[in-house]
Symmetry: C2
Subunit: 337 residues, 2 copies
């Protein structure tokens, strides 16, 4: 059994003040790095702070400053991209966290299942727990962002919001990246180009499909849908092979789906890229390890996270930010196409 360490009394400003023989105000000034305090007093105070191990009480501080220096990242719980082996979620967190650390802010992670859980998020933000909110891939007609904005809480979305509300967001050039992939396939002489599209209630799924369609330039579309997962990619590929046995290329809206497609193609006896060229999206870790190594559209996941945090920080500073903060994608050519 382990005991709860002996809860030594936390020293207060008051205690530091009397220890140093100055007023609380002076201690506060030293702690907050004010210029206007005599060097010798500052030294004395700093020593007392050191000796007593003083740490400012955040609750008291934010009660008066009206800030918490904490920002929330709200994540929709049952999101297939989050608990799969798609490192998208960890990547975003990594970026966000790096940016917030540099700014001295803390990250509060909130998993929000759905409707009723949304009320919790609202109350949480409204209660002043955090200074602002980052929203992860908002689905359809979610009222959450609008509510938050109405409450006066700065909000930035990761991924273009689908509804009407004009919220600032950061996103990758999904449509452009997809279009580039398809154009590349055409430039290599492929003519029967299919796509494995993502879910059409996610903006990434929609935009990448649009990119595919736009780059087709009149050629007949060939579409199957997946859920961004490997299994769904395999299933979609099987479907495509059945309906269009003569296809010679596939653009999948995620690397995981592309990997699933690769397996199905192998199983069906098609050679990649000789018979069928395959391009994925993400530049997931698995892309380089796929068989054959996967040509794909890289999106800068970590930068997406950084941008998300940065835009929110700017909002907090009272700056205006552009509604759309788009990050470029890049075609990474390996062996599958």
């Amino acid at each position: 059994m382990t005991e709860r360490g002996s809860a030594r009394e936390r020293p207060t400003l008051e205690m530091v003040a009397s220890h140093a023989g100055v007023s609380r105000a002076t201690v506060s000034r030293v702690v907050n790095g004010s210029e206007s305090v005599a060097p010798h007093l500052r030294a004395v105070v700093m020593r007392s702070v050191e000796v007593l191990g003083y740490v400012p009480n955040q609750a008291a501080r934010s009660l008066v400053t009206q800030r918490t220096d904490a920002l929330a990242l709200v994540v929709p719980e049952p999101d297939s991209r989050i608990f799969s082996d798609d490192p998208f979620f960890p990547g975003i967190i990594h970026g966000v966290s790096a940016e917030l650390e540099a700014a001295g802010k803390q990250l509060v992670l909130i998993m929000s299942a759905s409707g009723e859980s949304h009320a919790r998020v609202e109350r949480y933000a409204a209660g002043g727990h955090v200074d602002g909110v980052m929203l992860f891939s908002i689905h359809g007609e979610d009222p959450l962002p609008a509510t938050l904005v109405r409450l006066g809480i700065p909000v930035v979305c990761n991924g273009r919001p689908l509804g009407e509300t004009a919220l600032p967001y950061v996103d990758a050039e999904n449509e452009g990246g997809a279009a580039e992939a398809v154009r590349y396939l055409r430039s290599r002489g492929r003519s029967r180009i299919a796509t494995i599209a993502g879910p059409q209630d996610m903006v990434a799924g929609i935009d990448r499909l649009n990119g595919y369609l736009s780059a087709l330039e009149g050629a007949p579309p060939l579409i199957a849908y997946g859920e961004f997962t490997r299994a769904s990619g395999s299933a979609a590929m099987r479907e495509l092979l059945a309906t269009a046995p003569d296809l010679d290329a596939v653009f999948a809206a995620s690397d995981l789906m592309a990997d699933g497609a690769l397996r199905m193609l192998r199983q069906a006896g098609r050679r990649v890229p000789d018979d069928v060229a395959v391009i994925g999206f993400d530049d997931n870790v698995v892309a380089a390890f796929a068989d054959p190594p996967l040509t794909t559209v890289r999106q800068p996941i970590q930068d997406l996270g950084r941008g998300l945090a940065r835009q929110l920080l700017r909002l907090l500073d009272g700056e205006d930010v552009e509604d759309a903060y788009m990050l470029p994608t890049q075609l990474v050519i390996r062996e599958s196409a």
Copy 2:
């Protein structure tokens, strides 16, 4: 450009009180669900709360209650398991988050690079931002946990801590699981069993190697080391094939490394499982999709997260908790062994 929503004044207890025609104390009691308040007054107050959209100010509240209802999860930044396609980190988060939500607590995620960043964590916890701390895979002689305990902050570790300090922790039966895998291989007639071990500065790496060694029962060990990643698994497999061409089985300390090994074996012309049997660890999503599907030792990642949170909550409630909270593993047999 997007404006910062008009910051409507947040209603206070005071305002609700005067709106309802009662004292602040009564409002406070209603809000906190006290029994001792007349039904009709409660109704009136609740209406006022509704009308005004009152939400308690968390800073003020925790200033007096000395609690924040927030718990921190501290994650070592440059951890290969976190930003790879190993869903270990997301899985833990999922479990932790589910448990905390049920308890009405919030999750604060802290990425802690190392030394200097540790000071930040200490100050953060000491500042009363959170009521307790969950520590992710503590490396070697990290002084952080001891410091936190000294500060009187409840701490629980994910993964057995390597140092001397006796901290409560939750972990999977790494050693037992590894031993079971090796025993299974032996029972299937394999005699030259190698292992691809994980990093020996991580408890998971150490324990799984020990499990392998213990189950060998005198047979000569055959060891190569990896970093839990696919690439390192391939490299380690190559090494093993060079030093022990006659091996007939491999136990890898992670599915990712096992997958890497599978590729290397294929490349070397060895058939799996005919020539060489392979077992991994984790039951990562990729295991089922490996070629051939990977026999592996499943660890209940999400339960690990839940247990982590649960133990901390118990500590917070003043209960004593056992130092070691171990979760069982399970051998999942597929085709690779």
